[in-house]
Point group: C2
């Protein structure tokens, strides 16, 4: 008989198991391990984890009461960062609102302003007022100021704490200055050089500062900023600029060039992930607002409106059948070919839609040069359409032979496939290009509209050709 | 009468215009400005631009001869970096191959190894051999070694030049060591700490090193690496880890923990962009290999095979019409409803497909917990299907009243929409989940397969219900 494990063995075992789960990316199962432990032991174990990992463990708890209790048992710095790293679908704002405003305010104070603003923005107005009232006046004012920027703007994701120096120093003096000013600033990679009125003059990277001879003047190390953005700039454009110029951080300046803040690569990684989700959801014909981890009723709310739109567009496309119902009535075989002509067109349209949307996302330049790509897409469609049409017409010839159908059927099949696939490819490129020109997100073109248009043209072409050539 | 502008006025005007075009992201129009200038003036003007901007100017030239001539007129460092920043669709490999191997090798020597390998990998084997022969033995060996890693692996995108120190130094000594070792290393943000056998012990960020008291021992600043990857790791997982833990660079180690290289945030930004393009193209039912800027025949090669696959899947779906052709023959009105049932199902399936693919991409954990989301997607589909079905049945009741159709038609419409939308939503989640489980990219599920399956179930449900209830 072995003795039951002592509490400390339990604890060490749990620590090992937790490390395994973290390495496997399976921390949502952490409570299988933690459930038997005393709350203080749980807090002790989580103390060694990265805030992103702690966030996973918190998310695995169902009730806000349990989440709040755990958060309060953790050191404020870790708890606050875990809160900032929580998945948006898990409503970190609700968790913050469920806490005592004093505790919530204490967590916010541990965070950088951009993360704090992100959380406060999730709260209802009265909850915002309560928690801002519990903050020191200066910090509450700073957060209120940042809340004024639009949700997906540079101002909303910028961090106002940064290290800036004035030029005219040696590298050694600059390092001493950075050491003095940087103690309160989290992760920074670039020192911003400003004049007396805080106009941005340029940047010095930390590695250049370290590599330079300490007696060397800093002015020689200053690089003009590769790019800077206004606080009103769209976050997607911020990501594009930083990715294009490989910038680890980008300065945010106002219209007169005064330095307001910085946006770092990690913010941009989050932005790219979010924008990618948005694009894929829009293209799939659903709302880009849906939380991936949300409840079924959130999903219904996001998707049903688009399905109802699609009911109308599908009815419009199908109305071609009513228009040509004589042909359908006379030749039921058309009902077999019809969905194929429409489906292949839909595929061709979706292909050129996807290529065009990505092309615009990666280099949203002026529209002039894009016209060339419209003709390219049309040409691609005509070539592919001819190939598919010939194959389908070949199959139709076999059918004609064995089923004694109208010998002109293969010609109808060929032309319908050919023209519809060509037209679909052109439309799939044209619609997002026009939307982009009008200032609308091109991904809104989405499968719904391209597919409905393609269904309509497909039904029309097939049934019109059949009426003309077969009846 | 004003005198024609002097050459220097031309030059200054061109410089201004070029800066404007760069700010507007319209450098593809640069040759409108540059065409009148002497080649040496062009090179002078481009010297002030970022390599990414120079790449745009190079890409705007049509012929490889012109591109080679321009590259050779530029300083080797700028030319090499512009080559590395060129869009993959513009075939920088072809440009490199068109150069004299000695010149090409000279450009490669200016680059970091990861960028050099990227370019060499684009060459044909005989071109590779030529250019490697023109490189110094050591560098050719290094590139050959890196070429052995898989194309989308960590080993392929890692940079082998980095700054590492051994522990047991004070912060001041460490800075001196970094200054000594870092001169040849491009942009670095982290110092890696290794033991005598180059096993990775941890990392020290440059800002911690600068902020520390110079007499302070470095051991206190060392952080265990938040994550490290093997060179065989998929680049997408590298991006996920760096984004999760906000890492500016991630160490690459071999099985025994020896430090091999580092991957920095800018590589990962490129990876995320590329993976995003791949996912969107796959989901749209086309090849993820298509170059967005490629020729029409490249596009045909990428898309036609998928259209031909779709011809088969569409025929399989449409075969339901043959199975139930009595019903279609008797009631042509079914041909009007059929595409709508299939289309709405397709939309519902694509919605849950997109949500599921993104969910897997953002947290590719174990499949167990995913089963819950399958039921959620099925439920969402049944709720949405009921809503759409009721609306469609209402419209069908009006049609029945005015057109004197079979009074059971609304019931058939309700059930067909309801069940097909529910089934589609479930399938849209189930197919990518199963693919992921099998180790296949879930985006391959794509609209083609989900749509074909949904068409088939839609046609079947409607026509079977019609046969049973209306005939």
């Amino acid at each position: 008989l072995t003795a039951p494990p002592s509490p400390s063995e339990n604890f060490d075992g749990a620590r090992l198991r937790l490390q395994e789960l973290a390495a496997e990316g399976r921390l949502e199962d952490a409570w299988d391990v933690l459930d038997d432990l005393a709350p203080s032991d749980v807090a002790d174990l989580l103390r060694d984890l990265h805030p992103s990992d702690v966030a996973d463990v918190v998310e695995a708890l169902e009730s806000d009461e349990e989440r709040v209790a755990l958060m309060q048992a953790l050191p404020a710095e870790l708890a606050s960062e875990a809160l900032a790293e929580m998945d948006e679908g898990e409503d970190p704002g609700d968790l913050l609102a469920a806490m005592d405003p004093t505790v919530g305010a204490q967590l916010l104070q541990e965070l950088e302003y951009d993360d704090a603003v992100d959380l406060v923005a999730e709260l209802e107005p009265d909850e915002q007022a309560k928690i801002l009232a519990a903050l020191p006046v200066e910090e509450a004012g700073e957060i209120r100021g940042l809340l004024r920027y639009d949700e997906e703007s540079a101002g909303r994701i910028m961090n106002t704490s940064l290290v800036s120096i004035e030029g005219e120093l040696t590298a050694g003096e600059a390092i001493a200055e950075v050491r003095r000013k940087g103690q309160e600033v989290e992760d920074f990679y670039t020192v911003f050089v400003v004049d007396r009125e805080r106009h941005l003059m340029g940047t010095v990277s930390l590695h250049d500062l370290i590599l330079a001879d300490p007696r060397h003047p800093v002015t020689d190390l200053i690089e003009p900023p590769l790019a800077s953005v206004l606080p009103s700039e769209d976050q997607e454009e911020v990501g594009r600029l930083m990715s294009r110029y490989n910038m680890v951080s980008i300065p945010v300046v106002n219209e007169s060039g005064v330095l307001l803040g910085r946006i770092t690569f990690d913010d941009v990684l989050d932005v790219l992930e979010a924008e990618q989700t948005e694009d894929i959801l829009l293209l799939a014909g659903t709302s880009d607002e849906e939380d991936l981890g949300g409840d079924w009723h959130e999903a219904v709310r996001a998707r049903l409106p688009w399905l109802l739109v699609n009911l109308l567009t599908a009815a419009a496309a199908s109305s071609m059948v009513i228009l040509f119902h004589d042909a359908v009535d006379a030749i039921w075989f058309l009902a077999f070919i019809m969905p194929m002509v429409a489906g292949l067109g839909g595929n061709s349209g979706t292909q050129s839609l996807a290529v065009t949307v990505r092309r615009i996302a990666l280099s949203p330049g002026p529209v002039g040069r894009r016209l060339g790509t419209l003709w390219k897409e049309g040409l691609v469609g005509l070539v592919n359409g001819m190939a598919v049409g010939l194959l389908a017409a070949g199959a139709a010839m076999v059918a004609v032979h064995y089923l004694a159908l109208n010998p002109r059927l293969p010609l109808v099949v060929l032309l319908a496939f050919w023209w519809n696939i060509g037209l679909a490819s052109f439309n799939g490129a044209m619609i997002p290009t026009v939307l982009h020109r009008l200032g609308v997100d091109p991904a809104v073109a989405s499968s719904i509209f391209v597919t409905a248009l393609t269904d309509m043209t497909g039904f029309f072409l097939l049934l019109w050709l059949a009426s003309a050539l077969l009846l």
